[in-house]
Symmetry: C2
Subunit: 233 residues, 2 copies
């Protein structure tokens, strides 16, 4: 736990189109090593998977219709802003429907199954590079009580989403009572620091993470809070 | 924006006691450079500032009393778990009152003014090292709709808490509509990846961040969402 980490931006992928082989593009842009975690933004994954729908950017009603079709439940609404639960179980603004960094006339939707997107990308990266890497698909979410967005993980493969430290002794030798750390979200946030929102850097490599964190992993199974536990839905 | 970052754990500070000079300890543990961001956990800041209160660890009522005395409003309660708003305006579990990694019989409270704690530590680090560094005080918070905790910033000095990208063009040259990124929280989360909850690493240095992000900064002014904006309080 006491070694330095590196966060390496991945650049030069060019514009991503439906059907593009993200694994080849990533493997060509950075020399991957065993134990690397490759973080890619939802935007490029959605583009490669063709998760784009036509939209008139000035038509607020059309945008709202897409947001509603991607939602299973609306939690709050204020003007154009809808806070809803997506079919995946994510609670976020506008069901993740995004108009930035896509061509005029199109909106990007979230991947259908971001864990599956991560698994597929990981399989292809391992096949192409022979490096044992993990993959996180990231997106940008707001928070109810804190201003500003941060990046979180919406899918992962090959790395724990939540690390369970219950039963681990603290530095006094007492057992930590209830500490489950969402390392996937922390990795996504770390990666955002070298990606930025406007700079066209669609990925990053996080190098040097604890080898003990590498296991199959799933955001949908580990991170999404079941309604029964939820105090704010 | 497209350079690698380093996350360096800071170890060997020893046990922190009231009145300890954290700046000297940090400066002795790592060679600081211009542009470094020093992230320290709330726990060591609270200890150095003497923000500890005696408590019987097995007395649930006594613990609850301390939590309530640190809160201005309770949002939800379920069994032992209280989600409340602290005097600072943070919404978190148990008002940040923490029993882990402190001596038996004591609880650590949040610093009275974590931005001020960060400013003081930064002033002392600059005086001691002549390096232009920034400081973030981090703590570990849960999230309503996502399992697992992540580290966030509760105080900062010398670095933007929230980066305002509104007006910045996206990679199509269109203006990004509403993107304010809470880089202070992302930096705190990144630092946690080399600190861990049980490993006794109370700080980290983040090296290589965009020089444009360095300005006075304040979590309380930039990150805490005013009640008028809040849809979930």
């Amino acid at each position: 736990m006491s070694r330095a980490l590196q966060l390496i931006p991945v650049t030069g992928l060019g514009e991503i189109r439906r059907g593009d082989d993200l694994a080849s593009l990533l493997a060509g842009a950075v020399e991957l090593q065993n134990g690397d975690v490759v973080v890619v933004t939802q935007k490029v994954v959605s583009k490669a998977e063709g998760r784009l729908v036509p939209i008139d950017h000035d038509d607020v009603d059309a945008r709202l219709e897409i947001v509603m079709s991607e939602s299973v439940r609306v939690l709050r609404r204020r003007g154009d802003l809808v806070i809803s639960e997506t079919r995946h179980g994510f609670v976020c603004a506008n069901a993740g429907v995004d108009l930035s960094n896509v061509d005029q006339g199109w909106a990007a939707l979230l991947p259908e199954d971001p864990d599956r997107s991560a698994r597929r990308l990981r399989d292809r990266l391992r096949a192409r590079t022979a490096a044992e890497v993990a993959v996180i698909v990231s997106d940008t979410f707001g928070r109810p009580w804190r201003r500003g967005v941060t990046d979180v993980a919406i899918g992962c493969a090959g790395i724990a989403a939540v690390l369970d430290l219950r039963g681990t002794p603290d530095d006094r030798g007492r057992t930590l009572l209830a500490t489950e750390v969402c390392v996937a979200d922390e990795i996504a946030s770390a990666a955002e620091l070298v990606m930025g929102k406007a700079s066209g850097v669609p990925g990053a490599v996080v190098r040097g993470l604890d080898p003990g964190w590498f296991r199959p992993g799933s955001v949908s199974q580990e991170v999404i809070r079941p309604p029964a536990e939820d105090m704010f839905r």
